[in-house]
């Protein structure tokens, strides 16, 4: 991937002409935006652990970047290094389509203008069956300081949530998700011990910058926005400044509220814990961290906490899609715009039983949102997950 500035990887293209005028026009719209280098690279491995799931039709599209993406070349000389990132399309095999509620998902995760990729995305359809209902897990993690806390969340959080949900009494989602996030935080904090015991083997397979220097990095953390989708509900747990937005009948409904240090209730919480929010290049906890909650960041405890805020939303027939994204998107694209873009992509594909078309529509939506963020000069990593929430069999005629 040498010589590449900024990338999106492995966008899914239809192998055969799937349809349709609307898809063609979408393609054209994609092409109008500043083109992005697209690289097939497994530096950030797509989540492939689910055996029924496989990656399909991964076509690599190559085009060149406008030179102005290299923003701080005047600051640092080694800035023109390769950038890479990944787009995954979680397609579904024939076996999986026997299930009536197989989710249609599109994800994009790109390094963008940043030097390092510190976002991670976690997609686990059918990660859990409860009361004979399929539950799906989606997560976006935006690391800071280094990538390893976000990576650890990607590797582990769905398993932790699964175990907690399995012992959950009735529908205590809030308590269960808070417990899960706290366990995740503990695992990240105990990383040091694991290292000494295991001799840097198991937990360190994704080697990152800081572990080579020192086994202990108190000053590393990650946001986590996680959604568990059941046939009836959407549970969103959020910690930090990534965000989940529901698109319902064309209206953007935020399902999480960003944890910023100057949010009045967070400011009070931090002050009551003995901390301070200082305006030092924006509002920051002790002048350092520009979010008030995160997984990790031991050095800022107890002011920065890993406890998520949890929302439980009943699904309705008017629900169109769910968008989870890191602040690389939300800093430059308002909720309403994001919903409008995703909706347009999904409507183009229709709400029929054509799972390929729906998958591609979600992938198109995720990619288009990412391109939009980059076109609007987002300076951060950009990660987007789009989940189609339309109820196919009951609701085919809706669009």
């Amino acid at each position: 991937m040498a010589g590449i500035c900024c990338g999106v990887v492995g966008e899914t293209e239809p192998a055969a002409p799937v349809d349709s005028t609307s898809r063609a026009s979408l393609r054209r719209r994609l092409d109008l935006l500043p083109s992005i280098k697209i690289v097939a690279d497994s530096a950030v491995a797509p989540p492939l652990e689910n055996c029924r799931k496989r990656q399909k039709r991964e076509t690599v599209v190559l085009s060149t970047l406008p030179g102005n993406l290299d923003l701080d070349s005047n600051v640092r000389s080694e800035n023109k290094k390769a950038r890479s990132a990944v787009t995954n399309s979680n397609s579904v095999t024939e076996a999986e389509s026997f299930f009536s509620d197989v989710p249609k998902i599109g994800t994009t995760s790109v390094c963008g203008r940043r030097r390092d990729m510190e976002d991670a995305v976690s997609i686990h359809p059918s990660f859990l069956q409860r009361n004979s209902e399929n539950h799906h897990f989606y997560g976006v993690f935006d690391g800071h300081g280094c990538s390893h806390v976000a990576e650890k969340c990607r590797e582990r959080l769905h398993d932790i949530v699964k175990k907690e949900v399995e012992v959950m009494a009735s529908d205590e989602w809030t308590e269960t998700m808070v417990k899960s996030f706290q366990k995740m935080d503990k695992e990240v904090s105990q990383r040091e011990c694991n290292l000494v015991v295991n001799g840097a083997t198991r937990s360190m397979k994704n080697s990152c910058r800081c572990e080579l220097q020192s086994p202990q990095c108190d000053a590393v953390g990650s946001t986590a926005v996680v959604s568990v989708v059941t046939p009836e509900k959407i549970i969103v747990s959020n910690c930090g400044d990534s965000r989940a937005v529901l698109c319902r009948n064309g209206v953007a409904i935020p399902l999480s509220v960003d944890h910023k240090p100057d949010r009045p209730d967070e400011l009070i919480r931090i002050q009551q814990a003995g901390g301070r929010v200082i305006y030092w290049d924006g509002a920051r906890v002790l002048g350092v961290l520009a979010m008030s909650r995160a997984i990790g960041d031991n050095y800022l405890k107890p002011y920065v906490i890993p406890d998520p805020e949890v929302t439980v939303t009943d699904r309705t027939d008017e629900d169109e899609c769910l968008i989870l994204a890191s602040d690389g998107l939300w800093d430059v694209v308002p909720n309403e715009t994001a919903c409008g873009v995703a909706r347009m992509c999904l409507r183009g594909a229709g709400a029929g039983d054509d799972s390929d078309a729906a998958h591609n529509a979600c992938s198109d939506a995720a990619l288009l949102l990412t391109k939009l963020a980059l076109a609007r000069q987002s300076s951060d990593n950009v990660s987007v997950v789009v989940v189609d929430l339309r109820k196919r069999r009951n609701n085919q005629a809706s669009s």
């Binding site: 800071h144 000494v196 108190d218 200082i278 030092w280 924006g282 350092v288 050095y299």
Partner: protein, 159 residues
């Protein structure tokens, strides 16, 4: 050090006791060319001039999402006998202007322990109070010294 008349200056001292002998602690701390070993906010460090001795200048880049991306720092003094190190920040895209720190390492009264004392002065940037400035700098310095302690103590365990 240049400080204009009306410019507000502040300073503070951070003290850290370490369960490791002085020679070990000093051997980590004195490496002006390699602060990454214990400073977690440092992503890369390159010497711009010098060989790591007095007068050397390093360019440090810092990890993501901090209110800075790089810093230029000069080693003003490095005394291996009295264990004193003085560093000035001479540039960077951050708000620590005219920052100078003096780090001194002592053998503690208790056996096999070391005390590290780091004092600094810095301009109070516009829009912030003295208290905010020292709280911010204390957070960074304190984090570095705690990390120096952990690393030294870990190295003790391993030997």
């Amino acid at each position: 050090m240049k400080t204009s008349q009306e410019q507000h200056v502040c300073g503070s001292t951070v003290v850290q006791t370490i369960n490791a002998p002085l020679p070990l602690v000093w051997s980590i701390l004195r490496r002006f060319d390699n602060p990454k070993t214990f400073k977690h906010f440092v992503k890369t460090c390159k010497l711009r001039s010098g060989d790591g001795g007095e007068g050397s200048v390093r360019e440090v880049t810092v990890v993501s999402d901090l209110p800075a991306s790089f810093s230029l720092e000069r080693l003003d003094e490095l005394d291996d006998e009295s264990h004193v190190m003085v560093i000035s920040i001479i540039g960077g895209d951050h708000r620590l202007v005219n920052y100078q720190s003096k780090t001194t390492v002592f053998v503690a009264a208790e056996e096999e322990k070391t005390v590290v004392v780091e004092s600094y002065v810095v301009d109070v940037p516009e829009g912030n109070t003295e208290e905010e400035t020292t709280l911010f700098a204390d957070t960074i310095v304190g984090c570095n010294l705690r990390s120096l302690a952990k690393l030294s103590e870990k190295m003790m365990e391993l030997t």
